[in-house]
Structures are given as structure tokens and as C-alpha cells.
């Protein structure tokens, strides 16, 4: 708006107003250009890696040929989506994705929080640092190595798990070929790999809690357990909710590499997720258009979930992503 207080009120033409506004905008940029220069890399990143690729999403509605290009490929409407939903194994993959994600959320989401709370209770500095380093480590190991470790650990002949079962007098189980074992192993592996690293953000939130809250509680007579429940957890609740919303947004993104590395045809029944299905059916045979359609479906589901979670969170806890 034009600033009326700096100049005496007088009738101005639209033209004059426009020039005025333009001059002031230019002035603004001249004065603040460094700030915009700093903003530029982020904008470029968004445009190049996020917005430009959206243009390519249209191949989900096209009979795409790389040679013909996005422009040259003919439109075929919703055919790819019909193909997807007419396919029982795709439906199964969607169901598996959601189930695995649900377990991930149910067991995997609280894990880093619990870990962070536990770290917070360790008072010995060296012991705490060592423990933290140990649980952060798996995050930095590549999925291929992780899968190797898991396969070895669950091996029916030399695996640790079966060795222990053997001591307990139980028969060894070929875990990685049993559909009912895939999800526990997969979710457990995910927790083992990521819980430590994921706890960092909660530890940071805990570090941000005003220490005098605890002192006050100590004087009031609270024990550590009560302080954790009545101070720490409520204080980091906003962080927990934000992380939860973000996590819900990634519900359709089950760790693809790890599934590929750990599953078998024998465990497709519980292990095959949308991304692996797309990989086998789409990318391996060059059906990029079908893969794009599945990806778009994933994105829409995730979008709806995030919107819902965010709205619920805003309504009930005043915490929200936006």
C-alpha cells in the first residue's frame, strides 16, 4: 500500500501510483539485494529439482517413449491407473506398503523418542557419548551392508538368532523366506538402523527445555520418572508432533533398497511394496509411464495424509507444519 502519512493527501493518478510503487520496489531490491542473492540458491534448487520435474509427471497420462519425448508421446488418459488398479499384485503392494508403514510408525516412531529420553537420563558423560556413538553408527552404514548383516544374523545355519534358538532347544527358522517374519525383521532392522540417528532431533529438543523446570520440579519433590512424564515429554511434544507429521508424509516411502535386498519371491506376499513393485514391473522393463503413475499415486496418498495430520495437529495441539 502507498504510505499516506509521509506525503500530504492529494489526488494522484493511477499512473503516478504505479510509478511510485515501481520505484519503491526497485529501491527495495537495490537496498536488500544481498538478501535475495542468498535466497537464490534455494529457489534454483526448488525449481530445478522439484518444480521442473513436475512437468515430467504428465507421462503418467501418456504412452511415453523416451525417443519421442514428453511432448511427442500421445495422451492416453487414465489407462496406466486402470492398469495399476486392475492388478492384484499392485493392490497387494499398496496394502503391504501401508501395513509396513503402519508398523514402522507404531514401533519405529516412538523408538528414537524413547532412546532420546533414555540418553537424557544417563548422567555419566563418557558413557553417554559412547552409547550415543554406538547407536548412531548403523545410520552411516549403507543398506547393502545392513542387508548383509541381517541375512547373516538370521541365517538358519550360522546366524546368531538361530544359534540362540538352538540353545533354547528350538528348531532353526529360515526367517528371510517366511512371509510372517519379513515385517518384524524389516521394521526391526529399520529401527536398529535409524532410531539412534533419529533420536538426535529429540535430544536437541530436550536440550532446549528450560533446566529450571527440572530444578523447580526437584524442589517440588518430583522423581526422575515423574519429571520425564510431566516435563520432558510435554515439552518436546511439539517436536514430536512435527516429526510425526513429516513421518506420515513419508508413509508411502518404505525403504526401497532394504526391501529389495531382503525380500524373496517367497516373501512377496508381505514384503512387496509399491516401490519394489514399480521397480520390477515398471523400471526393469522400461515402463516409465506406469512407474510415474504409481509414483503419482504415492504422492497423492502422502499429500492427503500430511494435510489430514497437519490439520488434526493444528486443531488439537496448536502445533503444525504450516
Amino acid at each position: 500500500m502507498v504510505d499516506q502519512t509521509s506525503s500530504p493527501p492529494k489526488v494522484r493518478t493511477d499512473e503516478a501510483l504505479k510509478t511510485d510503487r515501481l520505484t519503491r520496489t526497485l529501491d527495495h531490491f537495490r537496498r536488500e539485494w544481498q538478501i535475495y542473492a542468498m535466497l537464490l540458491p534455494t529457489i534454483i534448487w526448488f525449481v530445478v529439482f522439484l518444480y521442473k520435474p513436475m512437468y515430467g509427471l504428465q507421462i503418467a497420462f501418456k504412452d511415453y517413449s523416451i525417443f519421442r519425448g514428453v511432448q511427442g508421446s500421445p495422451w492416453i488418459g487414465l489407462e496406466h491407473f486402470q492398469t495399476l488398479f486392475a492388478n492384484d499384485s499392485f493392490i497387494r503392494a499398496v496394502r503391504n506398503t501401508i501395513t509396513i508403514s503402519f508398523y514402522n510408525l507404531l514401533f519405529g516412531f516412538p523408538a528414537p523418542i524413547i532412546l532420546a529420553l533414555m540418553f537424557n537420563e544417563i548422567l555419566h558423560a563418557t558413557y553417554k557419548r559412547t552409547a550415543q556413538t554406538i547407536v548412531y553408527l548403523p545410520h552411516f552404514i549403507s543398506s547393502v551392508i545392513i542387508a548383509g548383516i541381517v541375512i547373516t544374523a538370521f541365517s538358519p545355519t550360522v546366524g546368531v538368532i538361530n544359534t540362540v534358538l538352538g540353545w533354547l532347544g528350538m528348531d532353526s527358522i529360515y526367517f528371510l523366506t517366511q512371509p510372517e517374519w519379513f515385517r518384524p525383521i524389516f521394521v526391526g532392522t529399520g529401527i536398529w538402523q535409524e532410531a539412534g540417528f533419529g533420536s538426535i532431533v529429540f535430544l536437541a529438543a530436550i536440550a532446549g527445555v528450560n533446566p529450571s523446570l527440572y530444578e523447580s520440579a526437584v524442589v517440588d519433590g518430583a522423581n526422575r520418572w515423574q519429571m520425564m512424564w510431566k516435563i520432558t515429554i510435554p515439552s518436546i511434544l511439539p517436536t514430536i508432533l512435527i516429526m510425526l507429521i513429516i513421518r506420515i508424509g513419508n508413509v508411502m516411502e518404505v525403504s526401497f533398497e532394504l526391501v529389495i535386498l531382503l525380500y524373496q519371491p517367497a516373501t512377496y506376499e508381505t514384503a512387496d511394496v509399491v516401490n519394489t513393485w514399480v521397480y520390477r514391473q515398471g523400471l526393469q522393463s522400461g515402463q516409465y509411464d506406469l512407474a510415474a503413475a504409481a509414483g503419482l499415486f504415492n504422492a497423492v496418498v502422502a499429500f492427503v495424509l500430511v494435510m489430514t495430520a497437519n490439520t488434526l495437529s493444528r486443531r488439537f495441539s496448536r502445533t503444525s507444519l504450516w
Binding site: N210, S212, L213, E215, S216, A217, V218, V219, D220, G221, A222, Q226, K230, I231, P234, S235, L237
Partner: protein, 358 residues
């Protein structure tokens, strides 16, 4: 109600000793203020009393009970923190009830206590608000409310007013004083603000560098500071301190002789610091006054009084003078007069107060 007794309390962090042996007896119902510059150990001492810090050496007893190893919750003390330490996720009532719930007080009893306390503090209308929706003064009151509902033997205040603006601080200061008068609970109050100390305390404990400099009623400390530190710390503006030498008849400062009350008794020639309170100078000569020529620098009117900033020889000095409603007459001041009986002497080397013989 109970007294608090500190005997040779020492606090060390590793090799670093920060509190060097505090001896202090706080009587029942007394309001004691620990005052001193930041880093003087006053908060550490308070936190040792609360049990938030271990006592490295010495003995602490509350109500005659040895407390060194007793958990904070069992010391029956309540503490009010500088930043209020309110739980942001709880409303006012729940904040105040926190300690009571932890102590498993029956629900109806909690409710009564809360409403009584809220009434005293004027918080009745705010009981279901969250701390984020309260003003600074209200938050401060909630923090006090949380301490009051516990009915502790001792209140501990850790700079409770330092986050408030000046006006609110004066108001809350008075409220604290009234509360203490009403509840009569032994209170130990830490502040770096000497005005708060003077106004609130039954007795003031001036601390510096981990040691107690002086303990006494506000007026004792004001009138008879034991050393230059206390003299410089209490009073607003603080006491003027000028280097000088004792003569056979008095003291010589800045080339001027001032007469003193009392006998020099062979101390002549000794280097001293002469202390003159700003409010003790007179513009007109009186009985047994010595005059000091000054170069007036600046006049700051405060209303009924004005501050005269002046140079006396090499030293800057500040004096207080009545305005009688206007300051015109102050601009021409060329000299001030100090009564001999109000001049303080301190040893130049040790800073300790010198008492002249009768």
C-alpha cells in the same frame, strides 16, 4: 516455621572453589537477602540450601535438622526461579498444583489450596490460562503461588524480579514484602539489586567473590559498612571514595583538610580512603563541617532531589541535594560541606573500615 543455619559452607567445582566458607544464621520468619555482584556465589549458596547443588564442605541445617544429604523434596523448602520455571503445557491452576499432586495431596484439598492462594495473588481469573497467555507480573505471581501452596518451612527466591521492567519490579517487590508479612515464612532472597535488598530485607548479607562481606540490617549496612566494597555496593548513588592521608587533626584529601570525629591516636600519616555518602553533604556550612571546593559538572534533577556530578581534585564525586522545587540555585554551587561525624574512613590497603578512638 524454622530457621536456617549455614556453617562453613564451601562449594567446589572440581579444583575450583567458588564459595569459601559461609557462616549464616537465618532466624525463624526472618527475611534475609543475599546480595552481591554476579558471580559472587549468592545463587550457588541459595541452590545449596535448596539442595540443587551438593555442599562440598560445611553443614547446613534447616529447623535444626542436618540437611547436607537430604533430598531437595524432603527439605521442605520452596523455590521461586528467575525465569519463573512455569510448565508451558500446563495452565495456571495445574502449574500451582504440580508440587501438590506429586506429593499426592487429596484432590479437594488441592482445589481449596489453589483457590485460596489464587485469591491472595489475584490470579483467580487466570487459573485456566497457559503461561504463554500471561503478562510478566502474572507469571511471577504464579511462580510465587506455586511456592506458597506448598506451605514450606522456607521460601527461597532466586532473583525473582530481574526479568520484570522497573515499574512492575517496584510493585512486585512490595507484594513480596506484604506476602512475607502476612505468611511469616522464613525467606532467603537472592538479588544483585541493592534497592531490592534494602527494601525487602530484615537482614542483608553482602557477598563478594564467594565470601560474606557483611551481615546486618539494611540501616546498619548503610551507616556502617565494614569495608569499601559494602560501602560502594549499597546506597544509590554509592558512597564517594577518595584517597587521602590522616593528619594530626583529621584527613587530607585532594589538598584539603577535613575534620573528623574522634582521635587520630598516632595514626597520622596513614593512607586511608575517605568515604562520603552523596546524601550526607550540605550546601551550607554547619557545625563541624569541612568544606570541599568542587567543579560542578552536571546537575541531574530527580524531582525533590537532584544529583550533582562534580570533580574534586582528581576524583569524580556525586552529591545529592534537595531541589525545593527548582534547580536554578544548584548550578552555581562551588563548594560542599561535609559533617565530620558522617565521614567514613577505610584503610587504603585492606579497605576495612577504620574506627577512630573516642
Amino acid at each position: 516455621m524454622a530457621g536456617v543455619s549455614l556453617r562453613s559452607i564451601i562449594k567446589r567445582y572440581g579444583a575450583l572453589q567458588v564459595v569459601h566458607g559461609i557462616d549464616l544464621e537465618v532466624a525463624e520468619q526472618e527475611f534475609v537477602v543475599l546480595v552481591g555482584p554476579s558471580g559472587c556465589g549468592k545463587s550457588t549458596t541459595l541452590r545449596m540450601i535448596a539442595g540443587l547443588e551438593d555442599i562440598s564442605e560445611g553443614e547446613l541445617s534447616i529447623d535444626g535438622r542436618f540437611m547436607n544429604r537430604v533430598a531437595p523434596k524432603d527439605r521442605d523448602v520452596a523455590m521461586v526461579f528467575q525465569n519463573y520455571a512455569l510448565y508451558p503445557h500446563l495452565n495456571v491452576a495445574d502449574n500451582m498444583a504440580f508440587g501438590l499432586r506429586i506429593r499426592r495431596m487429596p484432590k479437594d484439598q488441592i482445589a481449596t489450596t489453589i483457590s485460596e492462594t489464587a485469591e491472595i495473588l489475584g490470579l483467580t481469573d487466570y487459573l485456566d490460562r497457559r503461561p504463554a497467555d500471561l503478562s510478566g507480573g502474572q507469571r511471577q505471581r504464579v511462580a510465587m503461588g506455586r511456592a506458597i501452596v506448598r506451605h514450606p518451612k522456607v521460601f527461597l527466591f532466586d532473583e525473582p524480579l530481574s526479568n520484570l521492567d522497573a515499574k512492575l519490579r517496584t510493585q512486585m517487590r512490595a507484594e513480596i514484602k506484604r506476602l512475607h508479612n502476612r505468611l511469616g515464612v522464613t525467606s532467603i532472597y537472592v538479588t544483585h539489586d541493592q534497592v531490592e535488598a534494602m527494601t525487602l530485607a530484615d537482614r542483608i548479607v553482602v557477598m563478594n567473590d564467594g565470601r560474606i562481606e557483611q551481615v546486618g540490617t539494611p540501616m546498619e549496612l548503610f551507616n556502617n559498612p565494614v569495608n569499601t566494597f559494602v560501602a560502594g555496593f549499597l546506597g544509590s548513588p554509592p558512597m564517594n571514595q577518595v584517597k587521602g592521608v590522616l593528619t594530626e587533626t583529621g584527613a587530607r584529601i585532594g589538598g584539603m583538610d577535613v575534620s573528623l570525629n574522634g582521635a587520630i591516636n598516632g595514626h597520622a600519616g596513614r593512607d586511608v580512603i575517605v568515604g562520603i555518602r552523596p546524601e550526607h553533604v550540605m550546601l551550607e556550612p554547619g557545625d563541624a563541617t569541612s568544606s570541599l571546593p568542587i567543579e560542578l559538572d552536571l546537575v541531574e534533577p530527580l524531582g525533590s532531589e537532584a544529583l550533582l556530578h562534580a570533580r574534586f581534585g582528581q576524583d569524580n564525586m556525586v552529591f545529592k541535594a534537595d531541589t525545593n522545587g527548582e534547580i536554578a540555585h544548584l548550578s552555581g554551587v562551588k563548594q560542599v560541606h561535609v559533617p565530620a561525624d558522617l565521614i567514613k574512613l577505610f584503610d587504603a590497603e585492606t579497605g576495612r573500615a577504620l574506627e577512630l578512638g573516642a
